[in-house]
Symmetry: C2
Subunit: 246 residues, 2 copies
Amino acid sequence: MSSGPGIVFYDIPSQHARVTWSPNPAKTRYALDFKGLAYTTEWVEYPDIEGVVKALGGAPTGKKADGRPHYTLPMIRDLGTGQVVTDSLNIAIYLDKTYPDKPLMPGGDWALIPAFESAIQPLLSNQLPFGIPASQALLNPPSATYFRATREVMFAQTMEDMLPAPGSERETTQWAKVQAAWNTIDGWLTTAGTKYFGGAERNYADLYVAAYVFWIRTVFTEDKWRDFATWHGGRWALLLDTVEKD
Amino acid sequence: MSSGPGIVFYDIPSQHARVTWSPNPAKTRYALDFKGLAYTTEWVEYPDIEGVVKALGGAPTGKKADGRPHYTLPMIRDLGTGQVVTDSLNIAIYLDKTYPDKPLMPGGDWALIPAFESAIQPLLSNQLPFGIPASQALLNPPSATYFRATREVMFAQTMEDMLPAPGSERETTQWAKVQAAWNTIDGWLTTAGTKYFGGAERNYADLYVAAYVFWIRTVFTEDKWRDFATWHGGRWALLLDTVEKD
């Protein structure tokens, strides 16, 4: 545990007080836990994110459809260095550079992570029809309204149309696509013959994957999670358990 | 340099004696050079690959369109251990496991490499219209005939139709796609803020990239190579120079 003044970590709340749900902040939370750094969590509702990030001088992480800067969480404010960092990958790189103990990427091969993201995001996109409406449903009213409005434009679909109806053929087909995607991810590990993306030990790519396993466990229906947790010998559920003990 | 009995490395010849050209065997050659392992090269023409690999008990690396096993180079035969290994990634993993000195992936994070391949291969596919016909043109007669026949089926195009005509609008458009692809690859390094995919030092991903830079230098027209070599501050030409000094 760091003995410094610590880090403030900005996350998005759900209706359940202090219960996190979003996969992107989870990447940062797992990175902080992995490195054993002391932090406190500040909860920011969606409509307040832009204002909070701008007030602290945090950088935008992309552009909106209309070209204006887009502000997102996670963000950290390092009380020891005064630095404010946005974007989960930037934050992870910053943490390893500033706190070299317990490195997230022991080889320093960080450039493999954006390539990993390019490969894994099209696969993970198969679970959005389940995950996006389910995430919206558990947000507090101001975030729920904001999330619905922005995501319905982004996906050109209402939350209700996006979610495959339970028991429908579309649900079966879409869930099979989710399984095929995780088959591919499992295949990367099988090809390499390693337990983790980091090899014998976890690295940042494993925490990245765990963040999406966490999302499935937290927002998907109980029967979907139970099914998912059996895939590949229970590898993903075990990964999440292990990461959450870090 | 290893003092063992050494390794036999199987590569595909061009019309120029002992001049290699193919990017997949280049990944293995650079891996052997990087690790300082002693090896001799055996040259196998395309129509002979299946017979040579099968005779040594090498595993197929995929399936043909008709479902029969597909045999490819590179292959290595390790005279020290008696092992025969096919597939460039399998070979690289084998080399690190068998000869742990000078690791190709110091963190052991080999599972990031198939993900890296998934991300980079769609980008590199933009250079196939230039590279495939140019490769065919420099093969010896038996390989040239075999390569033409198999690739014309694979790409559903003759070599002559595949190659963008010099000075044509299609050439300009296709070359711009090649540049956009390398912009993305460069962006991964820029995001990470590292010199190499391996961080401060090269790892297997850098040798993998260098194998395609080598292909561009060896088979593309001189003016294409000269243009490519200026991209991103000359980063790729410099990488190839560095790797070839390993």
